[in-house]
């Protein structure tokens, strides 16, 4: 555990050692604002809730989270520090966990910095703060899922660009798994069970449930197990690279 924390600290500090963190946070906040106010017409809705705001999260994460995750392993591999990390007496899972948690905490910081919008709705009306809290929790969990996918993909390559592009594609498929674009491919031939399973993988469906204030254990388990699954894939990929 101590080792996980040591790696977490190093990784987390690494984001802020370069302008990456600041650039990311500024773009994240600007994009959130732009989507919510200009495209989502937050004011015109006249509703004191953050539904519009949360509605855009999956789509923003789709690009921004892979940008956070792409460097996690690809950079280590390219710079050769991977050799250093893996020859220190640290189990691979501890490195994977430390890195993931650092990146997740970083996206958490970015997410927390959207608090002015929460202040705004509370100033303008009487929103249900429980629902908003659920929205934030769901959003954070979903970011973790995107991140776990990006981290695992980052471990397969030395190129951050490849890691980014592939992560965006994979995350996109997970996001819209419930949409016709994906389902139509299967509907013609696959059994209904399979089609339903695939649509059950949709981030959108699970996130919409949480962000509307319905905290269903199944949605939490869904994101939680997805995170664990991809972290395990990450461990396996790192291990495989040793013998490859």
């Amino acid at each position: 555990m101590r080792q996980v924390f040591a790696i977490f600290k190093r990784e987390f500090a690494a984001y802020f050692a370069t302008p990456v963190a600041y650039v990311f946070i500024v773009i994240f906040l600007l994009a959130m604002g732009a989507f919510t106010f200009y495209i989502g017409h937050f004011y015109d809705n006249g509703a004191a809730n953050l539904g519009v705001f949360f509605g855009y999260h999956p789509w923003l994460y789709l690009f921004l989270v892979p940008a956070v995750g792409m460097r996690l392993w690809a950079e280590e591999r390219r710079l050769g520090t991977m050799e250093l990390l893996l020859t220190l007496p640290v189990p691979v899972w501890a490195s994977v966990a430390g890195k993931f948690l650092a990146a997740w905490a970083f996206t958490g910081v970015a997410l927390l910095l959207t608090f002015p919008i929460w202040v705004t709705v509370n100033y303008l009306g009487n929103p249900d703060n429980g629902v908003i809290l659920a929205g934030y929790a769901g959003s954070f969990l979903m970011a973790g899922a995107y991140l776990a996918i990006s981290a695992a993909i980052s471990a397969t390559t030395t190129s951050q660009v490849i890691a980014f592009v592939v992560s965006v594609v994979v995350c996109f498929l997970f996001t819209i798994a419930g949409a016709p674009l994906v389902l139509d491919v299967f509907q013609a031939w696959a059994p209904v069970v399979l089609v339903n399973t695939i649509s059950g993988f949709s981030f959108l469906t699970h996130f919409q449930a949480i962000s509307s204030g319905v905290i269903d254990l199944r949605d939490l388990i869904y994101f939680g197990s997805l995170i664990v699954l991809f972290l395990m894939v990450n461990v396996v990929v790192v291990d495989l690279k040793k013998s490859n």
């Binding site: 040591a6 190093r10 050692a17 370069t18 250093l84 007496p89």
Partner: protein
């Protein structure tokens, strides 16, 4: 303390390391030599647990690297090729990080980091980002990281690469100081380094050990071992060479260099002959104006060249395979 048995590693069809056996005991400093691509770094990566062997095993202080990785790595200090380190960190933070990951806390972590800093003379750059440091300092950051936990086993891939002569000297001094307490493997291209710090030299070529002995043993295999080199006026060179060739015990005489003024000759002995006395007697008798006359211990690069495969040939074979 380091036991390597039948260690083999293939990359696709290419065997980078094939069947290496090696034991390194406490107090030994083993110099690992070989041409580029001979398998030195691959072997070291397997010792450190970064690469999994295709077959064979490595153990460090009794811990199998593959099955008991963490215990083995705890006993090991490893300087990877090129001394990688996190460029955005300062040496101070980097060493603190390594100390924490290695399980040292608070004061102990600080003390370890400070000691490693002092031994590698890193003080002047402690608070500069590592990526801004010179090659020599970067290398020393890597060294500091490797010795921080005072490990019983040290494996260093080219620890003096890119250092200036002063820095090389201090790194060698450091290795010599630590040597009695540890088992050390050092890879190098610099044959003089083997002479300077190693108690044992192993040459590998195409993934196999082709020579293993003390540096003196290896030198004895050199053509120059006990050869005699003399410098005299250029006009006397030809007669001197002819005269020496006729002496018993002398196998060959080379004129190494000559210009209008001076020439340098090397006389090579037949097996197990000592010829310096005879050469000097002839020189006196013939009244050559000798400026220099000395016996050679042998040249490691001779040995190295005679038993390893040049790059081009190796690549041709690889392409054929």
């Amino acid at each position: 303390m380091i036991v390597i048995e039948k260690l083999t590693r293939n990359f696709g069809p290419i065997a980078a390391v094939s069947g290496i056996d090696l034991n390194v005991a406490k107090g030994e400093v083993l110099g690992f030599l070989g041409p580029n691509g001979a398998g030195k770094s691959t072997t070291m990566k397997m010792i450190a647990g970064y690469l999994t062997p295709t077959s064979g095993r490595v153990s460090i202080c009794g811990h199998d690297v593959e099955t008991d990785t963490i215990a083995a790595q705890t006993a090991l200090g490893y300087l990877p090729e090129g001394a990688p380190a996190y460029g955005d960190m300062t040496p101070r933070h980097f060493l603190k990080f390594v100390a924490e990951v290695r399980g040292f806390r608070g004061k102990e972590a600080k003390r370890r980091a400070a000691e490693a800093t002092a031994r590698t003379e890193l003080d002047p750059v402690l608070d500069q980002p590592i990526e801004t440091l010179s090659k020599g300092f970067k290398r020393r950051v890597g060294l500091a990281q490797a010795i921080l936990h005072d490990p019983p086993v040290l494996v260093m891939d080219e620890p003096t690469d890119g250092l200036d002569p002063n820095q090389k000297h201090s790194v060698r001094q450091l290795i010599r100081q630590m040597a009695p307490e540890k088992a050390i493997i050092v890879s190098t291209h610099l044959l003089e380094e083997v002479d300077a710090i190693c108690t044992r030299a192993v040459i590998i070529d195409r993934g196999r050990i082709v020579a293993d002995g003390t540096p003196a043993n290896l030198l004895a295999r050199s053509r120059h071992h006990n050869a005699v080199t003399l410098t005299l006026p250029g006009r006397q060179a030809d007669t001197a060479a002819a005269m020496l060739r006729r002496q018993p015990g002398i196998a060959a005489v080379d004129i190494v260099s000559r210009n209008d003024e001076m020439a340098t000759l090397t006389a090579f002995p037949k097996a197990n002959e000592l010829i310096i006395e005879r050469v000097s007697q002839v020189a006196v008798f013939e009244h050559w104006d000798v400026r220099e006359l000395y016996a050679e211990a042998g040249r490691l690069d001779d040995v190295f060249r005679s038993i390893t495969t040049p790059d081009a040939e190796r690549l041709r074979e690889r392409a054929a395979a």
